[in-house]
Every structure is written in C-alpha cells, then in structure tokens.
C-alpha cells in the first residue's frame, strides 16, 4: 500500500483531533467530573492512535497509547482530574502535536491543512476535500471570464448593436432581429458567469472556527503566564469568510486577544479593589452584516484613556495641539494604532495597551476593512474589525480626471453630486462641501494623485463623489463619472502595493488597465 498518498489526509485529520483534544481538556478543566467530555477526549486520542498505527508512525501511536492508559485511571474513577492531571494531559497533547507536525518536516509542503478547506456537503458523512490552490485557479479563471464577457459587450457596442440586458422598458418593442439573439445569448452568458462566480466564491468560504478553535488553548496558557484570571468566550465561530481573508486575520485576532489579556484585564486584586468580579472576561464575537463580517474583541478590563493617548500623540509630534483639541473620542482611541503612542502609559499604572496595533490596523485596511475602538476607563475595551466577506470581485464606479480613468469601490461611494449644485466653503484652509447638513472635507482627486486637471472643459463640469471612509464622509472632486462595472480585482504586487490609496487593478472592456483606488488610503 502506498502510504505516502495518505499523508495529507492524515495530517489534516490529525490536526482536527488535536484541536478537539485541546478543547476537551479545557472543558474538563472547568468540569473535571464530566464523563462525556472525558470519553470524547479518549476517543480523539484513540482515533489518532489508530491512524498513526496505520501510517506506521510508531512514536505517535505509542504516545497516544500512553495517554489512553493514563486516562483510564480517571475513566475508572480511581483518580481525580486535578490541576496537575490537566497540565499533564495538555503537555501530552503538545507533544503529540510536535510529533504530528514532524511528519512533514523538514519538507513541509505548501498544501498543509491550514490552507485547505473542508467543504461540507448535504450528506452528513460525505465530505469532499479539494486542493485549495485548485479553488483559487477556478476563481481566477472565472474572473477572466468576467473580463472577457465585458470586452465582448463593449465590442458589440462599437458595432452599434443595441444591447438590452435584463428587461429594459423598451425591450418588448424591439423588433426581433438577428442581433437580438446575440443580445440574449450574451445576457444568458452574463447571468451564468455571475452565478458560477458566486458559487465558486462560496466554496472558498470557511468558518471563523477554522482559525479560532486554537485560541482557547493559546489564551489559557497566556493568561496563566500573565497571572491573570480570565474567562474567554467565542461567539459566532460559524460565521464564514473567504479562506484567504481568514488566513490574514489569524495574527491580528490573536494579537488583539493577547492585548486584552495583557493590557485590558487587571490583576485579580486590582479588580476586586475596583469592585469587579475577580475573573475578567474576554470575548471574540463575529457576525455577518450584508457583505461584511464584523469581528469584535472585547474585554471588561481597565479600558483606555483617550486624553492620555492625545497627550502622548502630541508629545511625539504625531498630532498638533489644534487637531488634538477637536479630535473625537473615537478618533482619539484610534491613536493607539500609531507606533509609539500605543506603548504609552495611558491605561493603568502598569502598562500601555496595544504594542503592534499599527500592524493590526494596516493589515485590516489592506484587506479593504477598517477598525473601530470603543472604550471607557474602568469598563473595558472593544475593538471591531469590519472586513469584506470576499475581496476578489468588487463593483466599482468609474471616474475620470482628463485622460485617466480610475475605479472607486462602489461599497465606499455614498452619492455622486454635480459640483455646480453643491455649496462649498473653506474652513481652516481646507475645503468642505455642505452635504446632508454636514460639512464634508473635499479633496481634488487629481491633486491627491499628483496629476494635472486644468483642462476639463466647463461643459463637462466636475463631480463630487461622497465616500465613506472608516464611517466618516469624505468628498472627492473628479471629472466625470462614467458608469459602474463589476471589476475582477487583480491584487497589486511589490512595489505598487506599498502605495497608499491604490487597491488593485482591473481590465476595462476595451482592454485598458486601470487602477482601483482605495478612498481610505487617499484620506489617511
């Protein structure tokens, strides 16, 4: 029998069992006498033993066997599962993990199980494992199909063939001509491609739990190391995200969780003095809101002090006195994401909050998301990451400044206004428009991009695009707005991905390559 071909399957299932073992032991720590949990822990170890025996991994088999025997005394009620026993079981699982991971080293292949998606199907026991890179290839090729389809549309337009997609009001009065069948054919292809695309994207979705399952164990160890007492909860582990995004989120989430434990939650004696429960609470919560997922890390710890953050930012020269005085509470909390400010002694006597918050913020923004912080001193802190479910296809608005076309993600656009119908003011040297009873800061897109825009003829006129930037309105002055289209986003590579404000590129129907801009990066 060719054992090699079972290696991938072994590794991904073994990791699943190891995760289950960890969470069973953590549950046993809370309920040492729960026989069901003990039995299921035993079963996980036993399954791993059977699998490793079949693969000929004698060390894993032997250690699993010893863990089983060790557990037998508890299952027979001869011994009590005390703190030492829990610790020993956890160390045992750690050692098993090391042995399992060693199966692939030193030649660790790219297709490990963290890069795999297990796709649940209707039958309970029938699962299909698909190579993750294969799914990526499918997504790419369907993206190319979308581009080709949009080229076809624009070529037809050049031939002056009327195109009536879906059911336009005058569709019925069009005489049935030969071209009509082309329209219908393209319409049908269009619909199919979009259907195909959304199905393929959904294949790439994986629940948050695929990365979050290992957090309880990691947080437990960290909590002990820091001498704190913390209950950690995960809510919404079933919320699904694109696997590529999930992989990117692992580090930021873990970082925020550690921050909560280290800098948020006070030591037990401090909490008691503050008339709080001696055990702190840290919660990782996920929920879906339309095309976004909101992942929140909250704690009931010491909270953050916006005034302290402001003072620190001013003393570092990152912020002027004037700006600091008008900064909202929420924006002041985000100052914690500026390197140096984050390590300030602003929270408690002991330490500052959020080393590396700048890394978290830039990672989330690179994914097209943003960060919000809510905090009150003494009450706790909640950091939310608002992230798109999937990034590769974006509806964009095409705008021009002479001889250039750019795309703006439609999800960031609130409204398009004609400049001549908008009241504008200059305040503190910055231009603003009055929109919806609000003074919205206005920037010229051509100036932001360092391009000249003086040859727009008055007839064409300028337009103002009001965008949503981290929950705030910002206005962009552009030439014309053309149309919107569904763009297949091609990610930028070095060095272009280092330029703030550039989100990606896409091909227009006529074959022109354009940049998709990121309003968040344009308004830092």
């Amino acid at each position: 029998m060719d054992i090699e071909k079972y290696k991938d399957l072994f590794l991904s299932e073994a990791r699943e069992y190891l995760r289950n073992m960890n969470s069973s032991i953590l549950s046993l720590e809370k309920e040492p006498e729960n026989r069901d949990i003990l039995d299921s822990l035993f079963r996980h170890v036993h399954s791993l033993k059977g699998m490793s025996a079949s693969m000929g991994y004698i060390e894993i088999q032997e250690l699993s066997h010893r863990l089983e025997s060790y557990m037998d005394s508890f299952r027979q009620g001869k011994k009590l599962l005390d703190e030492n026993a829990i610790e020993l079981l956890l160390r045992g699982v750690d050692s098993l993990s090391v042995l399992v991971e060693a199966v692939y080293s030193p030649l660790r292949k790219e297709t490990d199980s963290s890069a795999r998606t297990k796709i649940p199907s209707r039958g309970e026991t029938t699962t299909l494992r698909v190579r993750a890179s294969f799914l990526d290839e499918l997504v790419d090729s369907v993206g190319e199909l979308l581009v080709a389809q949009s080229r076809l549309e624009s070529m037809l337009r050049l031939l002056s063939l009327p195109l009536h997609f879906s059911s336009g009001p005058d569709h019925s009065v069009q005489p049935q001509r030969e071209e009509g069948s082309i329209e219908e054919a393209i319409d049908a292809v269009n619909r199919q491609i979009h259907l195909f695309h959304s199905k393929i994207l959904s294949l790439r979705l994986a629940p948050l739990s695929t990365i979050a399952d290992k957090y309880p164990r990691a947080i437990r160890d960290f909590v002990r190391q820091k001498g704190k007492q913390v209950d950690f909860l995960i809510e919404g582990g079933g919320v699904e995200l694109d696997r590529r995004i999930l992989e990117e989120l692992d580090v930021p989430i873990l970082h925020l969780l550690r921050n909560s434990v280290d800098h948020g939650i006070e030591p037990p004696e401090e909490r008691i003095a503050a008339k709080k429960d001696n055990r702190g609470k840290v919660v990782l919560r996920a929920r879906r809101e339309r095309e976004h997922v909101i992942i929140e890390v909250s704690d009931d710890g010491a909270g953050m002090d916006p005034e302290g953050l402001k003072a620190k930012a001013v003393s570092l020269g990152a912020l002027s006195h004037e700006k600091a005085s008008v900064l909202s509470r929420e924006d002041a909390l985000l100052l914690a994401c500026i390197p140096g400010v984050s390590t300030a002694r602003v929270v408690s006597e002991s330490s500052g909050r959020g080393v590396g918050m700048d890394v978290v913020k830039s990672k989330i923004e690179a994914l097209g998301g943003h960060l919000t912080i809510i905090s009150s001193p003494g009450q706790g802190t909640s950091v939310s990451m608002i992230i798109p479910v999937s990034v590769s296809i974006v509806p964009v608005l095409l705008v021009t400044i002479p001889s250039y076309v750019f795309g703006l993600p439609l999800s960031r656009v609130e409204i398009i206004l004609k400049e001549k119908e908008v009241e504008s003011y200059t305040r503190n040297g910055d231009r603003h428009i009055l929109y919806d009873g609000e003074m919205v800061p206005l920037k010229d897109l051509s100036v932001l991009l360092g391009l000249s825009a003086d040859n727009i003829s008055p007839q064409q006129g300028f337009h103002i695009v009001v965008c949503d930037v981290r929950g705030k309105r910002k206005a962009l002055r552009v030439g014309q707005h053309l149309s919107h289209l569904t763009a297949y986003l091609r990610p930028l590579k070095l060095p272009l991905n280092k330029i703030p404000g550039l989100f990606g590129t896409t091909l227009l129907g006529d074959g022109r390559l354009i940049f998709i801009l990121d309003p968040q990066g344009l308004f830092p």
Partner: protein
C-alpha cells in the same frame, strides 16, 4: 486484481458498508476494498448512522470501528443483529482493545481485524466471513 471466490460468485459482488469515525480510516479501507474490486455501498461515521445505513442499504458486509461518538460500534453490532440475524460484521480494532473485541463478538460480530490493516489481512478476513 485479486478475485476471491464466494459461494460460486466472487468478492466483486460483495457490497460493503464502512463504519469509522475517522475519514482517514474510512478512506484507507475503501481504497483496499476497491482495489480488490469490492463495491463500497456506503460509509458511516458513528454507530447510529451505521444502523440507519444498514437498514437503508442492506450491505452484505459491515466493517465496524469500536470507539465512536453518539453510539459505539458494540451497540451498533447489537442493533444491526436485532435487525438482521444473518448480518456479517467485521470489527476493526487496535491493540489494547481485546476485551471490547470479545464483547463485540458476543454481540454477534463474526471476525475482527487489527490496525494497521494490510490489504492481504483485510481480504483474507472478508473471504473467511463471506464463506462462513
């Protein structure tokens, strides 16, 4: 391809239900059986599913793991034997499970095989059980 004779027929006509909570073990068993031309009609990942699938698919043979969630292999053997007194069930065990194997045999299982499986061992036992 090895073809095993069975009551004038061959093992290629045997329909098997594989029961194991580990996908890895089911896959390995399936590959062994299919390489011998044996038809795998279904898979179950716990004892409860095994009983349901047995009722639904009426396989000629069941390979049954012992320790599984929801319902153990031994309880599943009892339930299947109550459904069909002539059911042919092979227990898949591992060293250290001798007393459980004995219990399963008492419940009606015909034979047992011990992990790690080799193709020869698995087909031998199936041959023996199908000819009994």
């Amino acid at each position: 391809m090895d073809i095993f004779r069975w009551r004038g027929g061959d093992l290629m006509a045997v329909k098997v239900l594989i029961v194991d909570d580990a996908l890895f073990m089911r896959t390995m068993m399936k590959d062994i059986l299919m390489s011998a031309g044996i038809e795998v009609v279904g898979e179950a990942s716990n004892g409860k599913e095994a009983v349901e699938k047995y009722r639904e698919l009426s396989p000629d043979l069941v390979t049954m793991d012992i320790l599984m969630p929801v319902k153990s292999g031994i309880d599943a053997v009892r339930d299947i034997m109550a459904l069909d007194r002539n059911a042919r069930i092979i227990i898949c065990s591992i060293m250290g499970q001798e007393s459980l194997v004995r219990e399963a045999i008492q419940a009606g299982a015909r034979e047992f095989i011990t992990k790690p499986f080799s193709k020869e061992k698995v087909l031998d036992v199936i041959h023996k059980v199908m000819n009994s």
